[in-house]
Every structure is written in structure tokens, then in C-alpha cells.
Amino acid sequence: MARGIKDKVAILGMGCAKFGERWDKDADQLMVEAYEEAIADAGIETSQIDAAWLGVAFDAVNIGPSGIPLATALRLKNIGVTKVENYCASGTESFRGAVYAVASGAADIALALGVEKLKDTGYGGLPVRTRGTMHDMTGITGSAPGNFAQLASAYRKTHGVSKEDLKRAIAHVSVKSHANGAKNPKAHLQKAVDMDTVLNAPMIAEPLGLFDCCGVSDGAACAIVTTPDIARALGKTDIVTIKALQIASSNGWELQHGGGWNGSYFHTTRIAAEKAYHEAGITNPREQISLTEVHDCFSITELVTMEDLYLSKEGEGWKDVLDGMFDADGKVPCQIDGGLKCFGHPIGASGLRMIYENYLQLLGRAGARQRQTPPSLALSHNLGGMPSQNVSAVAIVGLADA
């Protein structure tokens, strides 16, 4: 395996716009909002940024093609700006570009920014988009919840879980994230809900009800990265470094190889997690990972992800969820900021928003939702596509000396 990037890159500063229905802002204004916080946190000038990556997914309701909208909005100094798109993992993908640039020595300071302006579509949920002319002819025309809901039927069958037990477990996921989101002033949804509300909500895609689905929001998030040495030279004392950053993409096996995959988990997440743990030197994630932000686009996704990240044993994630293992006061909190579910899910921004929360928690800057036991290693999991064909990203960050 490659030598990896552990501790080669530090986060110099981060920022995140308020997520939500930002009727008052365009995408470029959201980018500036996230950037203002990040550049102030980094304590540098725009002219010190050597390269930038922009993560954004939906052209039609956004800022159009290329990296130019980022360069223009931030008035970058004619540096290289690259737009990346990997479905809902676009945010982590932009982070990877910036981190790899610094790790390689090609850039001293690099910027990653993710943005999405979804509330200009005119309706709730994600816009319908083409997946290529061949896919449009043979693929299903399902919604995002419909694609992810299929995890539930396969999970039930694979692990012998009743419809009722699984529905209660995934409802617990949502109740927990709502409770967490209520403590986060930047979250889109800041209202707690009870089990009955979640269980009795209108059905979106069986078995996912309204509260099993994440918020669709406008938002942006930003990271400025450099080397630990440069960070110290710039006066930083608490240095958060990247311990691992891994991305795994489907190659068609799940969807095309009959009988090979049972539909109840994410093949790529397991691979990305294994590689990330190896890169970070983690041998027992259940004991060593102290905080997680995962891609809870739907409650069932979060549940199976706990198993795919080896935080729960296979087939037992639903019990751990009901036991409160991932609650804010549990052993390994998940979505302590509200997650996609309540912080919101502006596609291109989500991966960076997750790292932002982990970064704040590691530095003890998370306010009312700050984890009392200080986290040492925090994991973010960002997922693009759908269970049968996707890209999984795992980023682990921690204090430089951890």
C-alpha cells in the first residue's frame, strides 16, 4: 500500500455558512460566507493561497461549469482552480485535491470549498438529473430516498430483522440527529422530534418516512490546508492534521455481478474504511475513533454505515443504535452537529461540513454541542451515488500529537 499522508497536512482554518433555505443568498455569496470564516480562522491573506478545489454537483441550479465561479467569487489570484464532482462526496473530493496538493509539495497552502444552492430548484428533494444516455434508457427513474430505501429490505432479509424493529432503529437515528441539531445555530433544522412523530410520518419511499430523510439545503463549507510546519510558523499551536483520507468508487460489481452483493451494505465504504484505518494506524476503530460524522442522507444509511465503518458488528448495528451507542452522550457520537439530517445537505458542501464539525470538536470550539470527553480521532464519511453504485470517502482527523 502507498505510504499515505498521515500527519503531512494540517488544517489551517475552516468555515461554514449557515445551512438552510437561504432565499437571500446566491451560491457565490454562500461561498464567500464560508470563506470569510475560514480565512479569518487561518489568519492569512487570499494571496497566500496557491491552489484551490471547488466541489459542486448540480450545474443547473448552481454556478455553472468550471472552477471560475470560485475564483471569481473569492477574487483568487489567478491560481489553478479545479472543479470536482463525485455526487454527494464532492465536498470530500475537493478536500482531497487540496490536501494532496499540499502533501505533494506542489502547494504550500491550498483551499477546498464546497457549495450547493438547492433551494432554487422549486421543490423539495434533489433535482432529477441524467446519468448518461445509456443509463437513462435502462436505469430506474427513482428518487434518492427510493435508491437508499432498498438498503432496508435487503438488511431485514440478510439479518432477519423484523420490519418493526428496523423502523424503530432508523427512527432512533433521526430522533437523535434532531436532538443534536437543536443545539446547532448553523443547522437547517433546529427542532427536536419524538419517536411517534418519526414513526407516523408520511411515507416517502418504503420504509423511509419524511423524518428518515435528510434536509435539502443551501450552504457552503471551506477548508484551508497547509503543512504542520507552516501552520506552526503561522502561529498555530493546536494543530489538527489529516490522519487518513481515502476514497473508493464502485466498479460495477455491486450492480452487475449477480449474487455478489446482497444490497444491505456499502461495499465501497468498507474498503475506504479499511484503507483509512490502515493509513491512520488504527487497529480497533470501535475503541480508537471517538467521534463520527457520517453520510446520513437517510436514517437507514447511517445505520448500515456504522457496520461498514466497523464501529458495529455486522447485523448488529440496529441494536447499537437502539442502545444509544451513537447518541451525543454515547460511546461514539454520530452527527453531534445534527448531520445531513438536520444540519442539512447542500451536496457539494457536506463532506467539508463534516470535517468542519470534527475540526471544531477537536479544538473544543463546538459550543453548546461540544463533546465533554475530548475527542482524539474524528472520522467523517461522505458518500456519493446510491447503494448499488457509489463513491465512499473516509477522512480521519486528529490533533497532530494524538
Partner: protein
């Protein structure tokens, strides 16, 4: 095995839903009280994702299994409701059936008896030694709400494979007359028929023209009315067939059921449908007269052999698959007769490039996947590099048809968010028996039909209609296995 000229194979397809005529009348009776006399029984209605092409494909599959299709030399599709005015509709059927490219194909249209006219030509050609001809008839007529047509018509398709060999029915001859009798008409580009008075049609058309054709035809064919065991008159108006039989001195018990109460008048398809129904139960030696009416009369005479091939589903199987439907508004919406607010998600514009369709026609229209010649791993669609994780063979794929293979549900959902003309939209991952898998939309399905492990089979359906360019896109969907 005998080697006769006649019908080698036959099949039928009747859509699953049966709209109750009482439901139609309940909605429209305030306006057209005179329809009360027709408000009995049910009519077959195509699902939103069916049309004459998809129904013809299913009838053809019923008649000719995949391993027998190599024998088909040509195919025709008869209908007055073909979806394309200028794109060979039978060409789409040919691709869906994965017939050899060296297959002749033609569309037949313009009147209610065109299917029997093609049948006569095909039988004549078969006598001369022509390769087997697959004659398809399929009809899905539009009718105005509160019209008589709405009450009496139905949607269906049927298929006959014509040639020499071990036939189900020997062809004994035919008789045709042509007279420009305009009982109803529909001009090019129009959706609805315009009809003349039913009493004139009955007296001068049915009784007069068919009556005369029976007399002349029997004389020409050297049979008498007493010889006829099955008398098929695809006219569902009450008493017409019985009246013709009586006048011609054909035995009353020979008069075939017109399926008027269970299917409705399926237009061009109806003569084939009723012939298929008769062949399902005909005993050796029975003489069958098939009549078709439309600007004249076709009359054909067959003799059942008691041997030959039986269809997979047939008319009886199609009737058994029927499900009662009392939702008149849904049917109006599906036929484009009611404009519901479909929401922004219905606005998605996915143009289908002709180039991509042509390149992938086997996969898209034929559901042909690939099988790795080295490892045997089956996949859909085929690709240059095999999906087998243990051996990504390069250039090892062979064509592997999947449409006729049973499948099993691996995952599923019922999606109420995505736009569907019939929400919720059911879909999921399915594994085929013998290998291969795909994410498939499910159709003709109820909540109780879906669970992981449940058996499904594939049907050729409309995938979507590109309303901007008025182009129908077809693909395969999974339905609960019979």
C-alpha cells in the same frame, strides 16, 4: 408429425387491469344516461406503460418462445393505433423479440380487418413455401369520455405464427369482399372515432355484408353451415353473431364467445384474439370459421388438428391474470383524457439520442446481456471488460438474452417521491436465474407482491415518453411471476 399449411403457434396478451363498466357509468351516467344498458361486465385497459407495440411483443412472446424464434422469417404488426406514424413499429417488436436482423418486418394499418387480410396473404405465401410469418395484431383505441366506444372497447393483442409443419390448425381457404362502407372513421392525426348509426351498421353492414360473405364464402370453399364447429364473429354488439349464425343455419352452439363482457372489442386484434381463444380448446377435426369486418369482410376457414404448440399464457391465462379496477379517473389520466397536476418532477427532460439507442439496441430493446466465455459470469449490460472481480476478462462477452429468464427480488422499495403516472413507483434489484442482475422498475404490481426473494418475470414496457419530441422510449420491467 404432419406437414400442413396453417397456424404453427399462437398466443395472446390482455392487459391485467379490468375497468368495471359500472365505474365508467357511475362517473358519466349523469350526462349520458343511455349508456346504462352497456354498464355490465368489464373491459381490459392497458397500463400507463403499455401500447400496441408492447402488447404485441407480449403476445408474440406468448406464442413463440425464445428458442423457437430462429424460424421466424418475417413479422407484421396490424393495428390502427400504432404509436409511430413514421418509424417502423414492427421494427421495435423485432428488436424486442431478438429476431435475426435478416427478418422482414412491416406495419399494417388503415382498417378493422387488416389483421385477417395479412393472415390470408401469409397463409398463401406459406402454401408457396415461404418462411414462417409472425402475424401480430394489437389495438389500444382512445375513446371520448361518456361515449359508447368507451364502454364497449378493450385493449388486447394476439399473435399467430403462419407456416408449414406441425400446425395447430390447417388452413382450408378464405373469401374476401371489399366495399367502402363507412360505419365509422378516424382521419389521420385524430384521436377519436366518428361513428354512424348503429342500426344501419347492424342491418346493412353486419347482417347484409357478413351474411352475403358467409353464403358466397361457404360455396367457394365447399363447406356447408352444418360443417362449422366454431363460428367466430368478433363483433361484441349483442345478438349479432347469434343472428348471423341463425340466418346462415350455423349451429347455435358453434357461436364463439366474443369476450365482450370480459375484455371488450379489441378492434384489429379481436379476430386474432378470438381465434387464439378457440384454438386453446379446439379438438381435432373441428372446423373454425373466422370473420372480420371493416370496409368489407374477410372470411377464413381452418380445421383444428388437435396437435401443435400451445401458448405459454394464452387467452385463458390472460383472463385469469385479470384484476378488477374501479378507478375510472386513473384510466382517463393514463389515456391522456384528464390533465392532472404532475408537479415539477414530471418536467425532467431526458432526450434519447438515436445513436445511443442504435448502438445499444440489443440491450435496451432486447434485454440482451453478456456472458463471459471464459468464466461464465453473466452481466447486464454487456461490456468490453467483464465485471467478474476474479477475472476481468477483456473482450470475452457473448450475447446472453435475459428477457425470458425468471428473476428474484434482491432489494425493493415503493417510491412515492419520484414522478410516476401510477404512484408509488416500485423498483429494486433483481437477480436472474442462471446469472445476471439489474436494477429494474416493477409494473403491474401491488404492495403485497413485493418482498425480497419473490419471483418476477420480465415484460416489454414503455419506459418513458419524451413529450417534448413525442418519442416513446421502451425498456423491460419486472412483473410478479405467474
Amino acid at each position: 408429425m404432419t406437414s400442413e399449411t396453417g397456424i404453427l403457434r399462437f398466443g395472446a396478451y390482455i392487459p391485467r387491469n379490468r375497468l368495471q363498466r359500472s365505474a365508467i357509468f357511475a362517473a358519466n351516467g349523469w350526462f349520458a344516461g343511455g349508456l346504462k344498458g352497456l354498464a355490465k361486465g368489464e373491459r381490459a385497459i392497458a397500463n400507463w406503460d403499455e401500447d400496441p407495440i408492447t402488447m404485441a411483443v407480449e403476445a408474440a412472446r406468448d406464442a413463440v418462445p425464445e428458442d423457437q424464434r430462429g424460424a421466424v422469417g418475417s413479422v407484421s404488426l396490424a393495428s390502427t393505433t400504432l404509436p409511430f406514424a413514421d418509424r417502423l413499429n414492427s421494427g421495435v417488436v423485432k428488436e424486442a423479440l431478438t429476431l435475426n436482423d435478416a427478418t422482414g418486418a412491416f406495419d399494417v394499418t388503415g382498417g378493422q380487418r387488416v389483421a385477417t387480410s395479412v393472415l390470408i396473404q401469409a397463409l398463401a405465401a406459406a402454401k408457396g413455401g415461404a418462411e414462417p410469418h409472425l402475424a401480430l395484431a394489437s389495438e389500444m383505441r382512445l375513446s371520448r369520455p361518456a361515449s359508447e366506444s368507451e364502454m364497449v372497447q378493450g385493449d388486447a393483442a394476439a399473435a399467430l405464427l403462419i407456416g408449414q409443419g406441425d400446425v395447430v390448425a390447417k388452413y382450408l381457404g378464405s373469401h374476401s369482399v371489399t366495399i367502402d362502407f363507412v360505419d365509422h372513421f378516424r382521419s389521420s392525426g385524430q384521436d377519436f372515432d366518428y361513428s354512424w348509426e348503429s342500426r344501419w351498421i347492424r342491418d346493412e353492414g353486419y347482417s347484409g355484408m357478413i351474411g352475403a360473405a358467409l353464403t358466397d364464402g361457404f360455396a367457394a370453399l365447399g363447406v356447408t353451415a352444418a360443417d362449422i364447429d366454431r363460428f367466430i364473429v368478433p363483433i361484441t354488439a349483442r345478438g349479432v353473431a347469434e343472428g348471423l349464425a341463425k340466418k346462415a343455419a350455423i349451429r347455435a352452439e358453434a357461436v364463439a364467445d366474443r369476450l365482450g363482457d370480459s375484455v371488450g372489442d379489441s378492434g384489429v386484434a379481436h379476430p386474432f384474439l378470438l381465434l387464439a381463444a378457440a384454438l386453446e380448446t379446439a379438438r381435432a377435426g373441428e372446423k373454425i370459421v373466422l370473420v372480420a369486418f371493416g370496409q368489407g369482410v374477410d372470411l377464413l376457414l381452418f380445421e383444428a388438428t388437435g396437435s401443435g404448440a400451445s401458448p405459454a399464457r394464452g387467452v385463458a391465462g390472460s383472463l385469469a391474470r385479470g384484476v378488477k379496477d374501479g378507478n375510472y379517473l386513473r384510466w382517463l389520466f393514463h389515456r391522456g383524457n384528464l390533465g392532472l397536476d404532475r408537479g415539477m418532477r414530471a418536467e425532467a427532460d431526458q432526450k434519447q439520442p438515436g445513436t445511443t439507442l442504435w448502438r445499444n439496441r440489443k440491450a435496451v430493446l432486447g434485454l440482451v446481456g453478456g456472458r463471459c466465455a471464459k468464466t461464465g459470469v453473466v452481466q447486464f449490460p454487456s461490456s468490453d471488460i467483464s465485471v467478474n472481480p476474479n477475472d476481468h476478462g477483456f473482450g470475452t462477452q457473448e450475447d446472453y438474452p435475459l428477457a425470458d429468464r425468471k428473476a428474484r427480488i434482491v432489494t425493493y422499495t415503493a417510491d412515492a417521491l419520484t414522478y410516476s403516472p401510477a404512484p408509488p413507483s416500485y423498483y429494486g434489484m433483481i437477480d436472474f436465474e442462471g446469472g445476471g442482475r439489474m436494477m429494474a422498475e416493477f409494473t403491474d404490481v401491488e404492495a403485497d407482491d413485493v418482498e425480497v426473494g419473490r419471483d418476477m418475470s420480465m415484460m416489454f414496457r414503455i419506459k418513458a415518453i419524451d413529450e417534448i419530441r413525442d418519442f416513446t422510449k421502451y425498456f423491460w420491467k419486472a412483473v410478479p411471476a405467474a
